[in-house]
């Protein structure tokens, strides 16, 4: 009788543990593999997704972005006036103010058909250092990166992507 009851409790506790694990699982539905099967974006925001900063004090954070393979985007300081620079911004009223953004220097790049003209571009991964001041509390910031991407032969129209960052001011 005791053994039967113990078995029943063990079974119930196992079911309980399994359910708990199911409820708490945080595996993203759209992981890297499934994202790659969607139409690739020229630039993707990588991380951080959440940061804690001292409330009211300027704090530097490094924001990581990745450019799609075979593509480049203009740096923040392209060599020609007509070319569209990469610019990071945080919308007003989000509880987090962007004091300054520091961009990496662009790398020299030449189109295969025009080896004389050097462009200043980013490729692969790059980091924007943002100095932010957050008000006390939790803020879901939809920061923006404006850029214009090309490959060796063609260019995409300028785009703005959103980098969703949970900023906690403590």
């Amino acid at each position: 009788m005791i053994a039967r009851r113990t078995g029943m409790y063990i079974a119930l506790m196992s079911a309980l543990t399994f359910s708990f694990a199911l409820a708490q699982t945080q595996r993203p539905l759209l992981d890297e593999a499934s994202r790659s099967s969607a139409k690739p974006a020229a630039v993707a925001y990588l991380y951080p997704e959440q940061i804690t900063v001292p409330a009211g004090k300027p704090t530097a954070i490094g924001l990581h972005f990745r450019i799609g393979p075979g593509l480049h985007i203009n740096s923040h300081t392209p060599r020609e006036d007509e070319l569209i620079p990469t610019v990071f911004s945080i919308p007003d009223g989000s509880g987090v103010r962007l004091e300054a953004a520091t961009y990496p220097p662009g790398a020299d790049f030449t189109l295969p058909l025009d080896p004389k003209t050097k462009l200043s571009v980013y490729t692969g991964e790059f980091i924007v250092q943002a100095r932010v001041v957050a008000a006390s509390g939790e803020h879901l910031v939809e920061a923006r990166l404006h850029y214009q991407a090309c490959d060796n032969n063609a260019c995409l129209p300028p785009r703005t992507i959103t980098a969703a960052i949970d900023v906690i001011g403590k």
């Binding site: 009851r5 409790y9 119930l12 079911a15 309980l16 359910s19 708990f20 199911l22 409820a23 708490q24 699982t25 993203p28 539905l29 759209l30 994202r35 969607a38 139409k39 690739p40 974006a41 020229a42 993707a44 075979g70 593509l71 007509e82 070319l83 569209i84 189109l111 058909l113 025009d114 003209t117 462009l119 214009q148 991407a149 090309c150 490959d151 060796n152 032969n153 063609a154 260019c155 995409l156 129209p157 300028p158 785009r159 992507i161 959103t162």
Partner: protein
């Protein structure tokens, strides 16, 4: 027995609560993933093949059909219609001031236009630069920037603005430069996406003129 029933009921209740939490969590993440997909959905650059067989997904829809009609303004505000070029072989060339490959291609088009103009050939350059019609000052600045490009490149052919307004019938124009080659009957006979070569462009112009097949 009573105690057992009580324990089983409590456990079943907790199980149901966890199951509901799991379902709600999954639904939330599914919606977040859909939002992310929607926000990242973007045009894809078509890889250049380097020959005339560019993988243009939209070309089959346009090839052998009349070039979609349009009326656009030039830099002086004058309206220009595709229909007014009936009987001429055309290149409808979409470009932008911020497009480095377009800056390489334009001198080829200028040269080829001057070479074949006497045989009934024309280029219509259509700028894909943003146009702010609601802001006269911005619009004026944008037109000036396009005008500077036209001047620098010594473009002798008509340059029209606001490519976005006719982008859809021409396949979306997600990649620049994009050129459509139109014969004297107004039929699209070929297209090029991205920078190819001057030779290939000339070959397509000759096809549009009916000089070669």
């Amino acid at each position: 027995m009573k105690r057992n029933t009580l324990v089983i009921s409590a456990v079943l209740f907790i199980l149901a609560a966890f199951a509901w939490a799991g379902w709600a969590n999954w639904e939330y993440r599914k919606q977040a993933a859909e939002r992310l997909l929607a926000s990242t959905a973007q045009a894809e650059l078509v890889p250049a093949t380097g020959d005339s067989g560019s993988p243009l997904q939209f070309l089959p829809a346009l090839l052998g059909k009349p070039a979609p009609a349009f009326t656009l303004e030039d830099l002086s505000g004058k309206k220009v219609s595709l229909s007014s070029y009936k009987g001429k072989a055309l290149v409808i060339n979409f470009w932008a001031t911020w497009c480095a490959p377009c800056k390489l291609e334009t001198p080829w088009l200028v040269e080829l236009r001057n070479q074949y103009a006497a045989q009934g050939f024309e280029v219509l350059g259509i700028s894909a630069d943003d146009i702010d019609r609601g802001d006269p000052q911005k619009l004026s600045e944008e037109k000036r920037a396009i005008g500077r490009f036209v001047e620098q490149m010594h473009i002798p052919y008509p340059v029209l603005i606001d490519a976005d307004s006719i982008g859809r019938p021409y396949g979306g124009l997600d990649d620049l430069p994009t050129s459509f080659f139109v014969d004297r009957d107004g039929i699209v006979i070929s297209a090029q996406v991205g920078l190819t070569s001057k030779d290939e462009t000339e070959r397509n112009i000759k096809k549009a003129l009916g000089i070669v097949k």
